[in-house]
């Protein structure tokens, strides 16, 4: 299939989330954590906190609230760890609990952001640099613009899914209310829309 997107940092990352031993590694860390290993739990925290941070921020929390919420979710896990059996259900539980905690904070009206999510106003600054860097910056800006044209629900969803380890896509998608495919995760409405937006952007600018 034709793919006009030049190689980016993403290509180097490809394959990494699909490391087949990840599931086994996380499962054994979960066992050790259940037996009281703080080190094992710490490794799980290091691996999945960046995802939970994005979930909290995508829900419109300030940085300070997002830090508190992510921490609260991990504390809540302590009394649920013995009920969670698989790495994918751990990821799904953490994501959904973070969303729920974020709603709770927003409903309390504590240090609330304006309704339009502010994280989207700030386009990341292109750093001056090599020609490669310029190409990557152009791509990034095109992607940023395309995401910005999606409805808020899709923006939030794609931001979350992009941080989910690939083997856990299906479990997380199901918990987020996306229809899971019969064979593995499907593209979904939001990614389909984004690809249409990206194609539209390509047509409008000289390649």
């Amino acid at each position: 299939m034709e793919d006009r997107r030049p190689t980016t940092v993403a290509a180097r990352r490809r394959g990494q989330p699909a490391r087949p031993d990840r599931g086994a590694r996380i499962a054994s860390l979960m066992n050790a954590a259940r037996d009281g290993s703080e080190d094992a739990l710490g490794q799980i925290v290091a691996e999945l906190s960046p995802l939970l941070w994005q979930v909290a921020r995508a829900a419109g929390l300030t940085s300070g609230d997002a830090e508190d919420v992510v921490q609260t979710v991990w504390l809540s896990l302590l009394s649920h760890l013995h009920k969670i059996r698989s790495p994918e259900s751990l990821t799904a539980w953490l994501v959904i609990t973070t969303k729920r905690e974020a709603w709770r904070v927003r409903a309390a009206g504590r240090r609330q952001l304006p309704a339009d999510l502010d994280w989207f106003d700030a386009t990341p600054d292109p750093a001056p640099g090599s020609e490669d860097q310029v190409i990557i910056d152009d791509q990034r800006r095109a992607l940023w613009t395309a995401i910005g044209r999606l409805d808020p629900r899709c923006q939030e969803l794609l931001r979350i899914v992009a941080f989910v380890p690939r083997p856990d896509y299906a479990a997380v998608a199901a918990r987020l209310g996306m229809r899971p495919g019969s064979v593995g995760p499907t593209r979904g409405r939001c990614l389909a829309k984004l690809r249409a937006e990206l194609a539209r952007g390509d047509e409008g600018s000289p390649a």
Partner: protein, 168 residues
């Protein structure tokens, strides 16, 4: 419904390589634009280092910073309220002149409990009185976390209540 564009990209199709690369690009975009604070995992690991495994989580409910005009200049006073299913914990944090802080706390409903204040340089222990009051006169600044345990001799019933780690 198909999106516009030649062929389109049906939502029900399995993820293809381009989808996965776009997701990886979105990951990198947000990782660059809004990364998790680098010290957050360390703070979380600190707050998870508990000898109690069955804990009730007290969530941050309110926080107020106030500049108090004292004789010797402005002094910072913070009041923080945490709520859990069974307990409300209020603390007031005042600066001591020697660089440490004083922490005064109240439990509602009022009750005697064992109170631990975990800090990065060790744990401080006290107990609340019948009115639910407790105090730590001198606490080093930095990361700290409150653990409220059942009172000694109370039959050991009830779960420990823990707060998130906060910066004193």
């Amino acid at each position: 419904m198909k999106p516009p564009g030649a062929g389109g990209w049906p939502a029900d199709d399995p993820l293809d390589e381009t989808d996965l690369q776009i997701l990886a690009d979105i990951h990198d975009l947000f990782q660059a634009a809004d990364p998790m604070p680098a010290d957050l995992p360390e703070r979380i690991r600190f707050s998870l280092a508990l000898r109690d495994l069955e804990v009730e989580v007290a969530r941050l409910a309110a926080e107020e910073d106030r500049q108090m005009l004292a004789v010797r200049g402005p002094e910072q006073t913070r009041t923080i309220t945490f709520d859990s299913d069974s307990l409300t914990i209020m603390i007031r944090i005042d600066q001591n002149r020697d660089g440490t802080v004083r922490v005064d706390g109240w439990l509602a409903p009022p009750q005697p409990r064992e109170i631990e204040l975990k800090t990065t340089s060790g744990a401080l222990d006290t107990a609340s009185d019948e009115q639910g009051r407790f105090a730590f006169a001198s606490v080093p600044q930095g990361t700290a976390q409150l653990v409220v345990r059942p009172a000694e001799g109370a039959g050991g019933s009830g779960r420990s209540v823990v707060t998130p780690a906060l910066i004193l």
